[in-house]
C-alpha cells in the first residue's frame, strides 16, 4: 500500500515537473515547448543472467533480479522555462526494486519558478477529484447556499450592460 502510494507520488512528481514548464509558459503569455531532461544514473549496472532458468517453484525475492539497485539517488532535473533554464533536485530512495521515498529541493533562480517549485515540493499530498453526482448514491447534496435569485439576476444584467 505504501509503495503504491509512493509510486503514485512519483507519478504526481513527474507530472508536476512537466506542469512547471507549461505553467511558466502560460504565465509569460508566450508558448514554447519546454525541454525537460531527468538524469537518474544508477551507480551500479545490474547484469542479467545469460541463461534463463525455468522453474515451476515459486521464485523468492533473493533470486529476483531488480532493474535498480537499492539506494538513494539524487539528481538534478533540468527544464527550460520561457525565462530561461531551470533545475529542480529530485531524490529517490529505491528499496527492493521499488520506490520507497521521493522528495525535491528547489533549485530555481527566477522568482516565478521558485514559487512553483516550492509549491510542488511542499509535500506530496493526495489531490481531491470530483465524481459525477449520478455515479454516487446520494440522498442530498451539501454545498454553499444556493445563490439568492436576485443576486444572479442583477449580476447577469450588469454583465450584459457592461458589454454594450
Amino acid at each position: 500500500m505504501e509503495t503504491q502510494n509512493t509510486n503514485k507520488k512519483l507519478i504526481v512528481t513527474i507530472a508536476s515537473i512537466f506542469a512547471l514548464g507549461a505553467i511558466g509558459a502560460i504565465a509569460y503569455n508566450y508558448y514554447s515547448e519546454p525541454k525537460f531532461e531527468v538524469e537518474v544514473k544508477q551507480t551500479v549496472q545490474s547484469t542479467t543472467p545469460e541463461t534463463k532458468v525455468m522453474t515451476t517453484t515459486p521464485v523468492t525475492s533473493t533470486t529476483m533480479e531488480s532493474k535498480y539497485k537499492d539506494g538513494v539517488y539524487t539528481k538534478l532535473g533540468k527544464y527550460v522555462s520561457p525565462g530561461g533554464p531551470e533545475q529542480i533536485e529530485i531524490t529517490i530512495t529505491v528499496k527492493d526494486g521499488m520506490i520507497a521515498d521521493a522528495s525535491s529541493v528547489t533549485k530555481a533562480t527566477l522568482p516565478g519558478s521558485i514559487k512553483f517549485q516550492d509549491n510542488f515540493g511542499g509535500g506530496f499530498k493526495e489531490l481531491i477529484i470530483g465524481k459525477n453526482i449520478n455515479e454516487v448514491s446520494l440522498d442530498k447534496v451539501a454545498g454553499s447556499s444556493l445563490t439568492p435569485k436576485g443576486f444572479n439576476d442583477a449580476l447577469e444584467q450588469i454583465k450584459a450592460d457592461a458589454k454594450l
Binding site: E126, G130, K131, L138, K140, S145, T147, L155
Partner: protein, 288 residues
C-alpha cells in the same frame, strides 16, 4: 418520508416529514414563520429590525430568539479577533453587495470594534454608533433550527430540512439510517468531491463560488478586507445548524483549533490546491 418545497430566504427549501404529516395548514405556517424571521433579521428587507439597529442610535428591546443569534456572533467575533462580525454588512455594501445588488465597488472602510458600536445585554441592546449589520453567516442556519423547533412543538420529531443545501436531519426513530450527503464540488455543480452522512446532526457548507463579483466573494474577512482565496470550500457537521453555518464561515478566517476551543464539531476544508484538511471523525469518504 414525503417532501414539500418552496422558495424562501432567496433560496430553495425542501422539507421532508413522515408520511401523512404534511398538510396545507402546516406548510403555510412554516412559510409565514420564515417570512417573519426574514423581515426581522434580513438587511434586504425594508424596515427590518436589523436595518433599524443599523440606522438609529438608542436602546432597543430584542425579540427573545435574538439571543442565540447575537450570542454566537459575539462569541465568534472574539474567537476570530473580529474577522467574523455582524458589522460586515457595511463592508459587503461598500464592496458592492448592497441592497440593490449594484456591485459598484467603493473604498472599504476599516473594521470597527464591537464595543464602539453596540452594548448588548439580552434582551436589551444599545446602539451607540449605527453601522450596517448583516447576520447572513448564521441567519440561515438559525432559521433552520427554529423551523425544527416549530415542528417539534407540534410533536413531529422526524424531519429533514434542506434550505439551499444547508441541511438538518433529526429523528427519534432508533433504526433510522443516516442520510448520505454528497459534498458539492465548488467549481462544478454536477460533481461531488466526497460523500458524508448525518443523523441527528446538521451540515452547512461555505464557499465563495456562487456569489462572487470582481475580486470579492460574499465571504470577506473584516480585518484584511479581502475575500480569502486559499480556501475554496468548508463544511461543518454539528448538532445545531446555527453553529454549523457560522463555523463554516469562520473556518475561512481562523484555524479549526481556535474554534474547537469553544465548539464541538467536525469539519472539512478544501484548499485551492485541491488538498483537504479534515477533522479525524468527519464521516464518509473523499474522492482522490
Amino acid at each position: 418520508m414525503e417532501s414539500f418545497s418552496f422558495e424562501a430566504t432567496g433560496t430553495h427549501w425542501e422539507i421532508s416529514l413522515p408520511k401523512n404529516k404534511i398538510d396545507e395548514k402546516l406548510v403555510n405556517e412554516i412559510k409565514k414563520y420564515i417570512d417573519t424571521f426574514e423581515s426581522t433579521y434580513s438587511r434586504f428587507r425594508k424596515d427590518s429590525l436589523v436595518n433599524n439597529l443599523s440606522s438609529q442610535v438608542g436602546t432597543f428591546e430584542l425579540p427573545k430568539e435574538a439571543k442565540e443569534l447575537f450570542d454566537i456572533y459575539y462569541e465568534l467575533y472574539k474567537l476570530t479577533n473580529g474577522s467574523f462580525t455582524p458589522f460586515i454588512g457595511k463592508t459587503l455594501e461598500e464592496a458592492g453587495y448592497d441592497k440593490t445588488y449594484s456591485f459598484k465597488q467603493k473604498e472599504l472602510s476599516k473594521s470597527v470594534s464591537w464595543e464602539d458600536i453596540l452594548s448588548y445585554e439580552h434582551q436589551n441592546i444599545v446602539v451607540k454608533n449605527p453601522i450596517q449589520l448583516d447576520f447572513g453567516a448564521a441567519g440561515k442556519g438559525y432559521i433552520i433550527d427554529l423551523v425544527g423547533k416549530l415542528l417539534e412543538d407540534k410533536c413531529i420529531y422526524t424531519y429533514c430540512i434542506d434550505a439551499g443545501h444547508d441541511i438538518l436531519y433529526k429523528t427519534d426513530q432508533q433504526d433510522e439510517k443516516p442520510l448520505r450527503i454528497g459534498l458539492e464540488h465548488p467549481n462544478d455543480i454536477t460533481k461531488v468531491i466526497g460523500v458524508t452522512n448525518i443523523l441527528n446532526n446538521s451540515i452547512c457548507g461555505s464557499s465563495g463560488n456562487r456569489r462572487n463579483w470582481g475580486k470579492y466573494h460574499h465571504i470577506i474577512d473584516a480585518n484584511s478586507l479581502e475575500s480569502p482565496k486559499d480556501i475554496i470550500s468548508t463544511w461543518v457537521i454539528t448538532a445545531k445548524t446555527i453553529e454549523a453555518d457560522a463555523l463554516s464561515t469562520s473556518l475561512f478566517f481562523v484555524k479549526p483549533e481556535i474554534l474547537l476551543s469553544k465548539y464541538d464539531f467536525e469539519y472539512l476544508i478544501l484548499y485551492n490546491d485541491s488538498t483537504i484538511n479534515k477533522s479525524q471523525n468527519f464521516p464518509g469518504e473523499m474522492f482522490t
